[in-house]
Amino acid sequence: MADDRSREGTETAVAEFHKKIKEAFEVFDHESNNTVDVEEEEPTGYIRFEKFLPVMTEVLLERRYRPIPEDILLRAFEVLDPAKRGFLSKEELIKYMTEEGEPFSQEEMEEMLSAAVDPESNSIHFKDYITMMVIDEN
């Protein structure tokens, strides 16, 4: 009985997820032909809704891609600041973001700097920066 109820619950949840995904998809599907453009290198340059739906449903059901917790983000910045100054210089941030991990494009880098850099000191006080971003998110 409990199994049935929970299955039913999941089915409703899935149905609701499907509707939510479809709504969001339609915002980007301006031609209304069930495809959206992709910004990455894809053979066709499009993603079809039929392909997108099951993948996204699973993502939502398994609650993947949850936002990164504030403290982990802070620790990541602290790792890049071993001298424990509490900030990173603009050059340092650029170096890490464009040379390590999955490097930023120039556009991404410029965009991040525009909000993160304190113009007076030309540095990024990452604790303040994170706090500002987190407030905005909520």
């Binding site: 910045f77 973001m97 930023f104 909000a115």
Partner: protein, 660 residues
């Protein structure tokens, strides 16, 4: 050894640094994607509401048709015609009987330009120095004197009358042509285009693809610059008519207001001539016999040969279908616009036979109002209420039929200022950046010449004081969109609550997300991502259920008088734009006043047509209470201004309506 340990330490360090960088990058990209989505959502909200308003406009135009039909019936049945609210002047105004071609003196009359006027003074015949003069003057926010405006309009009309329905032009490798889309009164964007791309000239031709006016605050200045440029370079500056080059649209979307504000003395005259000039604007431009440039699009029945032949100036507003001639019985016809228009036999007195046939009218509506879509086929454009949606197969077929290679059109705001669809055969071009709101979209223009692919140029106007980081701009954009959506909701609060309560069997005040989304979509008629937007519009409890009354808590419609009934207030607020236009049209002498009699009979017609269930006595009482009919007349602008929305958490206390 020292090296060994420090090497592995270094490795560990760099591995941690890599991980840290990755975390930050993932976080940032996730946020960026979120911001982009929120920006898109905001744009979708603005666009849905705009199209819904266009539908309202169409419904209003049908109402006028309905009114005219009633007029003729009243004429036949009722001997006491003085009681009729619909005066003959109104009929001729709406039916658009031809104004006799007036001469210069009629326009310019006894207008004097005083010595104290320090704005630009144009010298006829116009030369390129006048273009420069105007641009400099408008940059300093000067206003061109009505005398010069009327001179320009008079000359423009004369010249336009000589132009055919479609302008045919050729390019060469050394002479590219620049095509611009909707400008909508955004003068800064026009200046930007000119500074990036050069002023119009014989070697630098331009096509402006309609919608020069409405919504932005410098529609007049844009028209003046375009018309003067046209007069100086009549073979190299090409203008296409857009759906906003239409006196009915101008009444709703702000241009009429702009003119009457800037030209308090001569505004009416200017508007009268503009109505005429619009009808003489060419329908489209054809470049190198390859590229068709029209404002909206096409349909599966588009007949370019017919469109070349019709008398394009025969009707004033594209929104009003021609009254049919000599029908026998009342028949209900479902036409392309998806609404029913009753065809009735109307005895003609000669002037009606000058009306275009319905078929010709539909052809033009399609050109000015249609939108391309990915779905094959051709079907009614339900979001706008006019024109159709046309698919890639329609594009191929029509382009092939007339041996054309490409369609360039405008009419739709695109985030990047342009968009290519239908396998590269259709380009949408939109030149008004930040159209809905600061940060909503870029603008674009293209340069073409035969043999080379078109080159795209994008831009976005940013106020110097407004160089805020991206996320703040997105926040502002989103807030503006949500605000507008909430105003929409409050204007249909009664209907929404009724539908909510129908589903809330247990009377708990709560609904599931699905139920709420369904209600919102059906009542408001807006195709929006309700589930994703829900957190911005309502309170959601910990079980994920929606407290549906919560969206009405921080917003209400101001009551003009204490005793007024809520449903009446809501109705007047909801239809305020339509009522404004209706009263505007009845007020044929533009005095700003209509008689209580006219007000009453108009209200009666309105409520019956729009199926509004409000007792007539209520509106009487309200008008009386508002102390508006002291001398038997109503200042309807004052009347309507008294109905507005208050946002609780707002520094301003009048609603920021963009469409008023």
């Amino acid at each position: 050894m020292g090296c060994g340990t420090s090497c592995s330490e270094k490795d560990k360090q760099s591995e941690t640094a890599l991980k840290a960088a990755l975390i930050i990058q993932n976080w940032y990209r996730g946020r960026r994607a979120q911001l982009k989505t929120r920006q898109r959502y905001a744009l979708t909200i603005f666009q849905s509401i705009e199209y819904a308003d266009e539908q309202s406009q169409l419904q209003l135009s049908n109402f006028f048709s309905f009114m005219l039909e009633n007029y003729t019936r009243v004429l036949e049945e009722d001997s006491d015609q003085s009681k009729c609210a619909i005066k003959p002047e109104l009929v001729t105004h709406l039916l658009g009987s031809n104004i006799q071609d007036k001469d210069r003196q009629d326009y310019l009359g006894l207008i004097d330009v005083p010595d104290s006027y320090c704005g630009p003074r144009l010298q006829f015949p116009l030369t390129f120095t006048d273009i420069d003069l105007l641009i400099e003057a408008f940059k300093q926010q000067q206003i061109l004197h009505a005398y010069y405006v009327l001179e320009v309009l008079f000359e423009t009309k004369k010249l336009l009358q000589q132009k055919p329905n479609f302008t045919h032009t050729k390019t060469s490798p050394s002479k590219e042509i620049t095509i611009c889309g909707d400008l909508h009164g955004k003068l800064d964007d026009l200046f930007l285009i000119f500074s990036k791309n050069g002023l119009p000239s014989v070697s630098n031709p331009y096509v402006f693809n309609g919608d020069f006016v409405d919504r932005g605050k410098n529609s007049m200045e844009i028209l003046m610059i375009l018309f003067v440029s046209f007069l100086v370079y009549p073979n190299d500056l090409h203008l296409n008519r857009g759906n906003h080059e239409d006196f009915m649209m101008n009444k709703r979307y702000g241009f009429t207001k702009e003119v009457l504000n800037k030209y308090k003395l001569h505004g009416k005259k200017i508007l009268q001539i503009l109505e005429d000039i619009y009808t003489w604007l060419p329908i489209g431009t054809i470049i190198d016999n390859e590229i068709l440039v029209v404002h909206g699009g096409i349909s599966d029945s588009t007949d370019l040969n017919l469109l070349h032949r019709i008398e394009r100036n025969k009707w004033k507003s594209v929104l009003m279908p021609p009254i049919p001639i000599d029908g026998d019985r009342a028949t209900e016809k479902e036409n392309k616009v998806g609404t029913t228009i009753t065809a009735r036999g109307i005895r003609t007195n000669g002037s009606l036979s000058e009306q275009l046939t319905k078929h010709e009218w539909e052809q033009v509506v399609d050109i000015l109002w249609s939108d391309p879509r990915g779905k094959r086929g051709c079907y009614p454009n339900t979001s706008r209420g006019g024109g159709c949606y046309f698919g890639p197969d329609v594009t191929s077929r029509i382009l092939n039929k007339y041996q054309l290679k490409m369609l360039i059109r405008s009419h739709e705001c695109k985030p990047e200022g342009y968009e290519i669809c239908h396998d590269g055969k259709v380009i949408t071009l939109f030149s008004a950046s930040n159209y809905y709101e600061e940060g909503s979209n870029r603008g674009a223009y293209i340069r073409v010449s035969s043999g080379t692919p078109p080159r795209f140029f994008q831009y976005q106007m940013t106020r110097a004081t407004c160089l805020r980081p991206h996320y703040q701009r997105v926040n502002a954009l989103e807030s503006s969109a949500i605000r507008m959506l909430k105003e929409r909701m409050i204007s249909q609060k009664t209907d929404l609550i009724r539908v909510f309560q129908l589903q809330d069997c247990s009377k708990s005040g709560k609904l599931s997300v699905g139920q709420w989304a369904f209600s919102m979509e059906n009542v408001l008629g807006l195709n929006l991502p309700w589930r994703s937007l829900s957190s911005r519009l309502v309170t959601i409890d910990k079980d994920g259920n929606i407290d549906y009354m919560s969206s009405f808590q921080d917003i209400h419609i101001q009551k003009p008088v204490k005793e007024a009934q809520y449903t009446l207030i809501e109705t007047v607020y909801r239809y305020r734009s339509d009522l404004q236009i209706i009263f505007n049209v009845i007020d044929s002498d533009h005095s700003g006043l209509i008689s209580m009699e006219e007000f009453r009979s108009m209200w009666k017609l309105f409520t019956s047509y729009y199926s509004v269930c409000i007792d007539d006595s209520q509106i009487d009482e309200l008008a009386e209470r508002m102390d508006l009919n002291k001398d038997g007349s109503i200042d309807f602008n004052e009347f309507l201004k008294a109905f507005y929305v208050v946002h609780k958490f707002d520094k301003l206390n009048k609603s920021d309506t963009k469409f008023a």
